[in-house]
């Protein structure tokens, strides 16, 4: 694929971290406000897709560091594992568990198995979209 314009490349360099940060923000606030793993995953995946258009597939793969197919696996593993702690407590699979952790200087931190589950969703969505998009773009060449 042809390299994109200089303007797009410069803009994307700035936009990629911002979009990824925004996707993490959407992911974390999802339990209370609009957002969540699915939406956040789409935003992150599209940030990388934008990068791919601006530069090329190889640069996009390089900056992604991890193969999106592996991301699929890790996401599925996380989502599945998040159901296990409840099993260990003798409750139904995927029953949500919550822990309040006091972090110094930071305040209260709410940790929970649904959060782990949502991170799994996030990774699976990024993995799915990028697996397809990158493969399509590579087939182009």
């Amino acid at each position: 694929m042809m390299a994109g314009s200089l303007i797009l490349q410069t803009g994307t360099r700035l936009l990629l971290p911002l979009l990824l940060l925004f996707s993490v923000f959407l992911l974390l606030r999802g339990h209370d406000e609009p957002g969540g793993g699915f939406i956040a995953g789409l935003v992150a995946a599209m940030a990388f897709a934008l990068y791919m258009f601006a530069f090329d597939v190889y640069k996009a793969r390089a900056i992604l560091r991890i193969d999106p197919r592996n991301m699929l696996g890790i996401g599925l593993l996380l989502a599945t594992l998040s159901g296990v702690p409840a099993l260990l407590q003798g409750r139904a699979f995927l029953t949500s568990l919550w822990w309040d952790v006091e972090v110094p200087l930071f305040g209260e931190l709410k940790l929970s198995t649904p959060l782990v589950f949502d991170i799994g969703v996030y990774l699976v969505v990024i993995g799915t979209v990028l697996t397809i998009v990158l493969a399509l773009a590579e087939a182009e060449e």
Binding site: D32, P34, G37, G83, P114, V133
Partner: protein
């Protein structure tokens, strides 16, 4: 008990490791397991012989009435002892017989899994549990028949066995469910102990037919007998085990088990009696025409299965006793004969009986045990086979009504043929002039002779001292008949009609043996036209038809054109929905249009216009763009109706769609018109139908509410129990997390599928 059954599967899983560790002794090592089980089952003997039945149960799925419950009475104990006992010899035999086979480890896995399934089947008290084991025996036997999977014949035979038995299994499942509904219990012990008989029940006829379909296919009854001789493509230890002593008797077991509850009606007696007797005669008739030693034995097994079915059908105390004794006798001599046939094959490389002769010097032990076992098959004194056969003839003479004429005639006919078969199998290979063989004939090793030795000598001992077998046989007969038959097993019954029939069959059988070659040729010529309408032709016709139909419907419905798929899916939906509306007599519309705001009208109009433009434009890019308008319009509607999560998702998905389309747009061929005006008219009508139907469904659903909406619960419980204010997200990751997990897997699979498609296409193009 649960541990005993499960231990087999655990050992089966470990068998390849054991095999690697112990090498050529693996057969003996693994045979320790069935030996231990035999001892364990034998420990139930005192209680069962005393007339008790033992029931052991563990919870499995209490909500569905499925539990691990086991019933040990005379019938199940008899089977369990036979399965474990013969299993010992089969496993040790296989260790030597298949020594050189590279897949021996895998063989142990299969044969032990089969043993476990079979034991589970005969011991299960819960109907569903029994059915699970029933199907497991079909699957494991499929794998065992097809063990030499590089052989086309073996694969075909395996598939045939599977399709026939599993097809019957489907009918059986329906029959068992009906049985449980009619009797009001899922436990065999409770069904059998039930006060009222099922004879008058409205479901009696269908449930008997369905159950018999299952048992007839499994136990190779006419007209389903053809799969059993073909199954001889399996290695000999498998034939010895599955097709003589165990699997094929599963159907017999179930009929015997249900006989006290279902038997005693004319339907039961006539169906089982006639089909059993016809199978018996067909088996003997086909056996006499075969020349391969395993085929001969296989058809004589068909004969034995028919006999057992007939005896269960007759239903007198005498018949129950005869069935139990015949079952034991047959398992002993047939297990031995199959293993001996394998020994001959192993020692000489010859399978065809007409090419055999004079082996008694090279293989003296094989010869001796073969003669003993064959005498039992022929039903000659003083072997246990004689006890079984005398009882069988007596029982056939005592059959009710007209059956008392038909059954003894068929029994006499098959008895004559069986004597000839016994002589062919037991005498022909060993006596007469010595023939030349591919290999220099040599005696088999100890592991391969242990089984035949024990089984054939046991047949002799039990014949001489029937009192030894009496307790277990009587207990079995009691389970079959439902009450104590109160009879003694005896070797000598005095001079009576059955003895006369035995003498006649001996004389006639020996004559047939003497002229076997010409008899066979004569029958072969006479049977040629009949073979064209044999049941196996029916099976082949059916399979061909199945392939033709699949081919036809694939060509019509799944022809590779996306437009056809969409058309078929949509029109089917429309037909089903409209059909439902028509059946319910229409619906009420309670939608008011007056509270729709002006900007909402604008969006709807925009979406509708954009959709129409998509359908008519000739430019792909324009179509993509206006599809985008449709998508964003829908997203706006979500936002107006306060569903921000849906709105965001919709916008993102629209964007993603554009990205994907950009990537594939260049690759698409130029825009062509495939449709002529006529198809376009058809398409317009189809899309209008779909649109109108969907709108009607939406309006109808708005008007009714069958269940209280669950959203109230979600709204109320979201904060307090799930600590989240965003209900959509709480539902996704907490309330219905399992659904989401399933969807994640679908998503991942789709990604892998698309990836594979793209990559393979790319590689195809390269090469």
């Amino acid at each position: 008990m649960l541990f005993a059954i499960l231990s087999i599967f655990v050992v089966a899983a470990l068998a390849p490791v054991v095999h690697r560790a112990t090498g050529r002794h693996s057969g003996w090592v693994l045979a320790l397991l069935p030996a231990a089980l035999f001892v364990y089952f034998a420990s139930f003997l005192p209680a069962v012989v005393g007339g008790e039945s033992v029931r052991l149960a563990w919870q499995w799925m209490p909500g569905l009435d499925v539990q691990f419950s086991f019933l040990i009475d005379g019938l199940s104990l008899m089977f369990a002892l036979l399965i474990a006992g013969i299993g010992v010899f089969v496993v040790s035999y296989a260790g030597r017989y298949l020594e050189a086979h590279r897949d021996l480890g895998r063989f142990y896995v299969l044969i032990l899994s089969f043993m476990g399934s079979m034991l589970g089947l005969v011991l299960a008290d819960n109907i569903i549990l029994m059915f699970i084991f029933w199907e497991l025996t079909s699957i494991t036997s499929y794998l065992l028949i097809g063990y030499n999977h590089e052989d086309l014949k073996a694969r075909k035979a395996a598939l045939q066995g599977l399709i026939v038995t599993v097809g019957g299994g489907l009918a059986l499942l329906a029959g068992l469910v009906l049985l449980a509904m009619a009797a009001g219990s899922w436990e065999l012990s409770e069904i059998l102990a039930g006060e009222d008989s099922l004879h008058e029940h409205a479901l009696y006829l269908p449930l008997v037919i369905l159950i018999l379909l299952g048992t007839f296919t499994k136990s190779a009854q006419f007209p389903f007998h053809f799969w059993l001789p073909n199954a001889m493509a399996a290695p000999t230890p498998v034939s010895a085990y599955l097709h003589s002593a165990t699997m094929v008797k599963a159907g017999v077991y179930l009929m015997a088990r249900l006989n006290p509850e279902l038997g005693g009606t004319e339907l039961w007696t006539w169906t089982l009696g006639l089909f059993g007797a016809v199978t018996m005669f067909t088996g003997a008739w086909m056996a006499i025409q075969s020349t391969e030693i395993k085929k001969l034995l296989a058809y004589s097994t068909v004969m034995a299965l028919g006999t057992l079915t007939m005896l269960i059908g007759i239903g007198t105390p005498y018949a129950a006793m005869a069935g139990a004794a015949f079952l034991l006798a047959h398992s002993l001599y047939k297990g031995a004969l199959f293993m001996l046939a394998g020994s001959i094959d192993h020692g000489t490389g010859e399978k065809e009986v007409p090419n055999m002769g004079g082996l008694r010097h090279a293989m003296p032990l094989t010869a001796a045990f073969s003669v003993i076992a064959a005498l039992s098959l022929a039903g000659l004194p003083p072997l246990f086979g004689f006890v079984g056969k005398e009882l069988m003839l007596e029982a056939a003479l005592g059959a009710p009504d007209a059956l008392a004429v038909v059954l003894p005639l068929l029994a006499l006919g098959s008895a004559i043929l069986v004597v000839a078969v016994a002589a062919i199998v037991g005498l022909r290979p060993f006596f007469g002039a010595r023939r030349e063989f591919k290999r220099t004939p040599h005696e088999s090793p100890g592991a391969m002779l242990a089984g035949p030795a024990v089984l054939s000598v046991l047949g002799l001992v039990l014949g001489l001292f029937p009192a030894l077998a009496q307790p277990l046989v009587a207990a079995t007969a009691m389970s079959i008949h439902g009450a104590d038959p109160g009879m003694e097993l005896k070797l000598w019954h005095g001079i009576n009609l059955p003895l006369g029939m035995s003498l006649l069959s001996l004389a006639a059988g020996l004559v047939i043996y003497r002229f076997w070659d010409s008899v066979r040729a004569g029958i072969g010529r006479g049977m040629a036209p009949a073979m064209r309408i044999a049941p196996e032709r029916g099976y082949e016709r059916f399979m061909d038809g199945l392939v033709w139909f699949s081919d036809f419907q694939t060509r019509v419905l799944q022809n590779g054109h996306l437009r056809t798929y969409v058309m078929v899916t949509m029109l089917t939906t429309v037909a089903l929905v409209v059909g439902t509306f028509a059946a319910l007599g229409g619906f009420e519309v309670s939608v008011r249009f007056d509270d729709i705001l002006i900007h909402e009208w604008v969006i709807v109009a925009l979406v509708a216009l954009a959709a129409m433009f998509v359908a008519t434009t000739n430019s792909r890019l324009a179509a993509v763009a206006s599809l985008g308008i449709v998508g964003f319009g829908v997203a706006l509607i979500y936002v107006f109706f306060s569903a921000p999560d849906l709105g965001i998702t919709q916008v993102l998905v629209e964007t993603l769609t554009v990205i994907l389309l950009v990537l594939v747009l260049f690759r698409l061929p130029g825009f062509l018109k495939f449709s002529n005006p006529l198809t376009r008219v058809r398409d317009v009508i189809a899309s209008l139908a779909v649109g109108v139907t969907m709108t009607a469904v939406l309006m109808a659903t708005l008007g009714v509410q069958y269940f209280p909406a669950i959203s109230e619960y979600h709204i109320a419980e979201s904060e307090p129990s799930a600590y989240g204010r965003n209900i959509v997200n709480v539902i996704l990751v907490d309330f219905r997390a399992l659904d989401t997990l399933g969807e994640l897997f679908v998503l991942a699979l789709a990604a892998v599928g698309v990836y594979a498609m793209i990559k393979f296409r790319a590689e195809d193009r390269k090469s």
